[in-house]
């Protein structure tokens, strides 16, 4: 039932004109829906998150298909390892988005859309795409690893309490106290492999602390609830209580914080790459590209700008998706009715009723304009 339905009911007079506050408007929208349906609906309604999801998908598709992934060949003619013969005078980006009828060169990619590094003989488009692939692979792996560790540690320590909790939380404190750049940089060297995976592993092993604390807090609250008592009385084993009864209730927290963690992961990965402690040549990541070409910014900015723009684009999209997920999972989240809706609502009421309704609205919701 929507707001309009409500108004129709009010208008045709079949029901007494009960004061409608936004709580009931909100509840009327989700009658008869399951939790996941509600979450999905809320998420789809979040415009910024949906746009970001589309953009992110496009970036992933572009990176995955253009230079190929693993043995699968891509449609772009160069790869990040190909040596391109240097061409005098054509190192600028050839991509053009301005159509010919506006005085531009027409919409085309050209030979080197993001420009060409003449000294190393590298095509920047292929390099950037490879960097995007690296960053995405790293955050996928680190997402899986740190979510697993964080959930297990948080769940154990929240559910069992006592010395398990004390031990695990002190361990978490130890990891938190070490600056992320220090621990991941040192661990990257200690793992002694220079590819993508050790960097992902090093990040995954140390980024779980926030998630563990959140999951622990949720478990502490949930294990006191009646349904857990009921399961315990029914002689359910701990494993079943943890996985079947409590964990599904913490999915919102886990999903949201994993998303944001992956966003932060890209920034840390590229920062490590920038300092020279992350992915090492011949592999490229967005961070190493920015680092390699930082000196070129004033003379050949395209070498430097594109990797940075992709970092911002990916992280921004992930942030917005995370924000949308947070709103979707938050049970307290109310869809705040627009002022217009409220005023239209008020038109159908007498003065006394409007004042009565206003009392149920959030404090300061109307006079602050």
């Amino acid at each position: 039932m929507t707001v309009e339905d409500h108004e129709d009911q009010l208008r045709d007079g079949s029901q007494p004109p009960v004061p409608v506050d936004e709580t009931s408007i909100e509840q009327s929208e989700v009658v008869g829906l399951s939790q996941s349906q509600i979450v999905r609906r809320r998420f789809v309604r979040h415009k910024a998150a949906m746009i970001s999801l589309v953009v992110l998908t496009l970036i992933v598709l572009l990176a995955a298909t253009s230079v190929g992934w693993g043995p699968i060949p891509g449609w772009w003619k160069y790869s990040h390892t190909d040596l391109v013969p240097s061409q005098a005078g054509v190192d600028g980006p050839t991509m053009s988005l301005r159509p010919t009828w506006l005085g531009g060169a027409g919409i085309r990619l050209g030979e080197h859309p993001f420009g060409l590094d003449n000294e190393a003989g590298k095509d920047m488009f292929a390099m950037t795409m490879r960097g995007v692939q690296t960053s995405l692979a790293v955050i996928l792996v680190l997402g899986v690893i740190s979510t697993t560790i964080g959930v297990v540690i948080g769940a154990l320590s929240g559910y069992y309490g006592k010395w398990v909790d004390a031990t695990l939380m002190r361990f978490t404190d130890i990891i938190i106290v070490i600056p992320l750049l220090v621990i991941t940089g040192v661990a990257g060297f200690a793992l002694n492999l220079s590819g993508i995976w050790p960097v992902a592993l090093a990040l995954g092993l140390f980024l779980w602390t926030g998630l563990a604390r959140l999951v622990r807090a949720e478990f502490l609250a949930l294990r006191e609830r009646e349904f857990v008592d009921a399961a315990r009385v029914a002689n359910a084993p701990d494993r079943r209580i943890i996985f079947k009864h409590i964990l599904p209730n913490t999915v919102g927290t886990i999903v949201v914080s994993t998303t944001l963690l992956m966003g932060a992961g890209i920034l840390i990965e590229s920062a490590l790459g920038f300092l020279g402690f992350g992915v090492r040549p011949p592999e490229v990541s967005l961070g190493t590209l920015v680092s390699d070409y930082q000196g070129a910014y004033s003379t050949r900015p395209w070498l430097f700008v594109w990797p940075g723009l992709f970092i911002i684009g990916i992280v921004l999209c992930i942030q917005f998706v995370g924000d949308g997920l947070r709103d979707a999972f938050d049970p307290r989240q109310k869809r705040i009715p627009k002022r217009k809706d409220l005023e239209r609502d008020d038109l159908h009421r007498t003065k006394g009723e409007t004042e009565a309704v206003n009392l149920t609205r959030p404090a300061g919701g109307r006079e602050r304009t």
Binding site: V186, F189, L275, G364
Partner: protein
């Protein structure tokens, strides 16, 4: 309380020991600190160097034993060990570097806290307005910025383009003035709120003001020789006084109004005498002393004119006096800008991108102040952008949370003015969670300044870590970790204590 603090400190000590063990062991596994000796061609010399480094880092014993040795020396002798390749004490480097990092971080933190909280509060008060959406979008963008990328762009933009622009006469182009006026119009109109008419009026007014100001700055080449002068100073002083009264007490409060205006009057009258004082041999201490005197004068005026409400008038006077002394400080520093800029070592390129000061520069306190500003401005901007976004988000969320509380509704219901509700009931309570977040963040910023320091080539602690890790030298990496770790632990404790002190519902130690 004392018991609680002691207990926390003991726990923190053991956490630091555990963490340092982890970092040390990982560090011993990271790589070979003797790798650099390959470059030494003379075999006997190489053997000597190898032996020396082995001894410095006690490479001949097991890593755990090595760690224990290191810990023992640190705890009982306060000895951070030697730098592996140069055999210099790490402490000598650390002592020089910590103040530099703190200088960088504190400037950025103070600025971003002040700006971030103000913007956050305004967006909360104008929730779901155009301004709110604009700011929210930009906070997301700032969150997503890789700091090293921004830093490199700032370096090029500030160090090359801006200095070139100054050299070319500091004229704004027409397009720039138009663009800035449009920006001012958007901000002004969304800031105003209310009906469309009001928004349009505010927008046009801000656009006009921006255009007039920028044209004046451009045509008078103000950026080459900035300064306020006594007349602008007097106008600013009155404006500051009026603004403070509006926020702190409300325009209707005659006593606070008189206090603020009297303070502004004293500030204006003392302008010329103070110019003489500023030419004496100044230092940071004397400047702070003058600021304190100014605040005391403000308090005294407030007490004298406060009538039955001395407290509020004193606060108004103190804040007015403090802001006026900041304005006067800036004005005096600006007067030395052209002297600084024209000096033979700066050669009219005042915005610097390398290091924290120009060693060869000689001059008065004010010239040195300008030099510090020229070096600080870009790295501070880079650091600010990111923490600014965080503080804006936090303070907006916290303010919204408070504004929806029942006591705010009560305050409004009993007829208090909007200003009283917002400033006194809402703002103060919104600051409580912010105090903890700020304390918590400071330790993180110190650790995060590594990248900014590396881009702007500051000889701060970040370099210690980077160089240490590149050369697989545990002593330097551990020194960096110990300092940041202590900061983290202390500020966490401070955060908890502040929370308990500010919010009577929270009791620590129970």
């Amino acid at each position: 309380m004392a018991v609680y603090i002691v207990r926390r400190l003991i726990a923190a000590f053991f956490i630091l020991v555990g963490a340092s063990f982890l970092v040390y062991i990982l560090m011993t596994q990271a790589g070979n600190p003797l790798g650099f000796t390959i470059a030494i061609t003379n075999p006997t010399q190489r053997a000597a160097v190898v032996q020396q480094v082995t001894e410095t880092l006690s490479l001949d014993v097991h890593p755990v034993q090595r760690y224990l040795n290191w810990l023992q020396r640190l705890l009982f002798e306060g000895d951070f060990g030697l730098v592996s390749q140069t055999q210099q004490p790490v402490w000598d480097e650390l002592r020089l570097r910590v103040p530099l990092t703190l200088k960088l971080v504190s400037a950025a933190t103070v600025m971003s806290v002040v700006v971030g909280i103000s913007v956050g509060i305004v967006t909360a008060l104008r929730q779901y307005s155009g301004f709110d959406y604009l700011v929210t979008f930009f906070t997301f963008v700032f969150f997503s910025l890789p700091v090293f990328w921004v830093a490199v762009i700032l370096k090029s933009w500030g160090g090359i383009n801006f200095n070139d622009w100054l050299r070319d006469g500091a004229h704004f182009s027409v397009a720039f003035i138009v663009a800035m006026s449009i920006v001012a119009a958007v901000i002004g109109s969304s800031f105003a709120g209310g009906q469309w008419g009001r928004k349009v009026v505010f927008g046009v007014l801000s656009a006009g003001a921006a255009a007039a100001l920028l044209s004046w700055i451009s045509s008078h080449q103000w950026m080459l020789d900035p300064g306020l002068g006594p007349i602008v100073y007097a106008i600013v002083a009155v404006a500051v006084a009026v603004g403070v009264v509006f926020v702190m007490a409300g325009w209707g409060n005659v006593r606070a109004r008189n206090t603020a205006l009297a303070t502004a009057g004293v500030g204006i009258v003392s302008y010329f005498p103070l110019q003489r004082v500023f030419d004496w041999d100044m230092s940071l201490w004397t400047i702070s002393g003058l600021a304190i005197i100014a605040v005391l004068v403000g308090v005294a005026i407030g007490y004298a004119m406060g009538g039955f409400d001395k407290g509020q008038s004193a606060r108004t006077g103190a804040l007015t006096a403090f802001l006026l002394s900041v304005v006067m400080f800036v004005d005096r520093a600006m007067q030395s800008w052209s002297e600084y800029s024209a000096s033979s070592v700066i050669r009219n390129r005042p915005i610097k991108t390398i290091g924290d000061r120009e060693d060869r520069l000689e001059g008065s306190f004010w010239v040195i102040t300008n030099d510090t500003f020229g070096h600080l401005v870009l790295p501070t901007l880079a650091l600010m952008l990111i923490s600014l976004a965080a503080y804006t988000r936090y303070s907006r969320a916290s303010m919204l949370e408070v504004l929806n509380q029942d006591y705010i509704r009560t305050a409004r219901a009993k007829g208090l003015t909007n200003r009283t509700v917002v400033v006194r009931h809402a703002f103060r309570n919104a600051l409580i969670p912010l105090a903890t977040i700020v304390a918590f963040d400071i330790s993180g910023i110190i650790g995060g300044a590594v990248i900014t320091e590396s881009v702007f080539e500051w000889e701060g602690m970040g370099r210690l870590f980077i160089d240490g890790l590149r050369e697989f030298d545990p002593n330097r990496v551990m020194a960096f970790f110990v300092v940041t770790g202590i900061f983290a632990v202390v500020f966490n404790l401070l955060a908890d204590i502040t929370y308990a002190a500010l919010d009577p519902r929270i009791r620590v130690g129970q």
